[in-house]
Symmetry: C2
Subunit: 319 residues, 2 copies
């Protein structure tokens, strides 16, 4: 099971988008810029910086242009923006974003609830966005939300997910994300879907996006790794959750993910101590407790001094 | 990885011992009795009811005899008590407890901190306890605490763990528990140790006891399952943690564990809805938030009604 895991594992940070979008308070633009710049120094693969949505729909990200324009663009990092429509794509192109993330739910009802469109309408829009960005260096990633279950409809047929991957690729999208939008994925299901995708598209860049709603986030990462997957979204401190998904809480936590991978001997290139420092800063920024656990318990490698009474017992034993 | 998992999976409940022992407030004896009796109706394999320790050391369990005497002994359930010494064994024998749980830390320094004994002294004591209980129907389980790491010393050599399993069996203990006392286990390490134990002792009854301190509790269950293990300790609501282990928090949560196994199609015999009901009662008993997640998010199978606005959109789509 653990003999031939893929390496290195790529970690994508989504806190300034998925995390901040649903915070009760607006995070100041300057704070967002500082955080993105700090995160870019910590060996992460991609940073989903913001979302080019309507400021009325997501007021917390109304400063999308300002943030994207002001950050320092590290050449080793892919800077991503979520884009819900052609207007968002135009804004992303103007700012030379490296990659845009397009989202459709596998579940028809969830797509209607989240995007106010049928799946067919979403796919048509992806085709138009692909036309708009053709010939530019901007990459298109397509997320399949509710790929592991819909809060309204329950399980989604694996065939339906695979058909939509096909539909994404037909519309010239470059990579896909299988997203567990409301934390419904379970490990054997994850293993099976990942294996099916990997078998059919061995070279496709695939990201897994898990939420820890039901405590299974890192278990699902493990199942994905066993199926050969090597790229994961995560949010600093475990901040975030889909505001349109009832009961949804918390992306998997970046530093908890990196800690697990580090301690399993898997290379990520990410700087755990740096992440822990930023996570502590994040707690100050959002001014509430964060679900991440390593920032509270410390890494397992951080041993503690022996209590004095035990030191004495050990010395007595020796004499 | 998921093709040949063992079934059924046995779930042992430890909340009235491991959970209540470190609560700030004493839980009334009558409440403990009611909870044990209710849990025994929910298809659990064992219930670790209490601990026959000194009332000064663990005042919260000073009613050990009263609880053990008053509970209704369901014949399908194994009732367990933790026992730290011969005196505790005598009390357990008097009450005809089904099984006692003996604990030694694999780490010398942690055993000194926790039990005030060297490992050698612990093993000598186990031999005397085995003599005391020989010829009675009482079973002896031996826990290997810090089997996946010690908060003072770090990693423990796998050979050292295996040597102590040997030492337990030489002293006539019937079964063992590999315990991750302070939540240091990582999945590949768990897989390797479980596999080594399973290979050397194919018929030995082995329980895994994980804490979720670093978010890896259920991932470690998954790794154990993959190595053929089929018995797990868990605590209702995720209550508990070792009071002598710095930073240790929370056993894995019974209802979160059962939810995962149910949804993976693995048989446990445990009643998830009943557990969720008891977990809600437990929140009232201890009067604080519990770390368990299914009691907040609901089982994944519990779909929600479609929002009315989406119903309208779907109807419009059809007309």
């Amino acid at each position: 099971m653990f003999a031939n895991l893929p390496q290195p594992i790529l970690v994508n940070e989504v806190v300034t988008r998925d995390g901040f979008q649903s915070e009760p308070a607006f995070v100041p633009t300057e704070t967002k810029i500082e955080l993105v710049n700090a995160l870019a120094q910590l060996g992460l693969n991609k940073i989903e910086v913001t979302s080019f949505v309507s400021p009325r729909a997501v007021p917390n990200l109304r400063d999308a242009e300002d943030v994207m324009r002001a950050i320092t663009r590290d050449t080793d990092t892919t800077y991503v923006a979520l884009v819900p429509n052609e207007k968002g794509c135009a804004r992303a192109l103007e700012l030379a974003v490296d990659e845009i993330n397009l989202v459709m739910s596998v579940s028809e009802s969830h797509n209607l609830a989240n995007m106010r469109m049928t799946c067919e309408q979403s796919l048509d829009q992806f085709a138009r966005i692909a036309d708009m960005s053709a010939g530019t260096p901007m990459r298109l990633n397509g997320s399949l939300a509710t790929a592991f279950g819909c809060p309204f409809e329950g399980n989604q047929e694996q065939d339906r997910v695979l058909r939509f991957v096909d539909a994404y690729l037909e519309r010239s999208l470059h990579s896909i994300t299988l997203a567990d939008t409301t934390g419904m994925a379970v490990p054997n299901q994850v293993f099976e879907l990942c294996q099916a995708v990997r078998q059919r598209w061995p070279e496709l860049e695939v990201t897994l996006h898990f939420h820890n709603t039901r405590g299974l986030g890192l278990s699902n990462v493990l199942a994905s790794l066993a199926a050969g997957m090597n790229q994961f979204d995560a949010s600093l401190g475990g901040l975030g959750g889909c505001p349109f998904a009832p009961g949804a809480t918390g992306n998997i936590c970046t530093e908890d993910l990196v800690h697990m991978l580090d301690e399993m001997g898997l290379e990520t290139g990410a700087d755990l101590n740096g992440l822990l420092h930023q996570s502590q800063q994040l707690g100050v920024i959002v001014d509430h407790d964060l679900p991440g656990q390593i920032s509270k318990a410390g890494p397992r490698s951080l041993t503690r001094p022996l209590p004095e009474s035990v030191q004495q017992l050990m010395q007595n034993g020796r004499t």
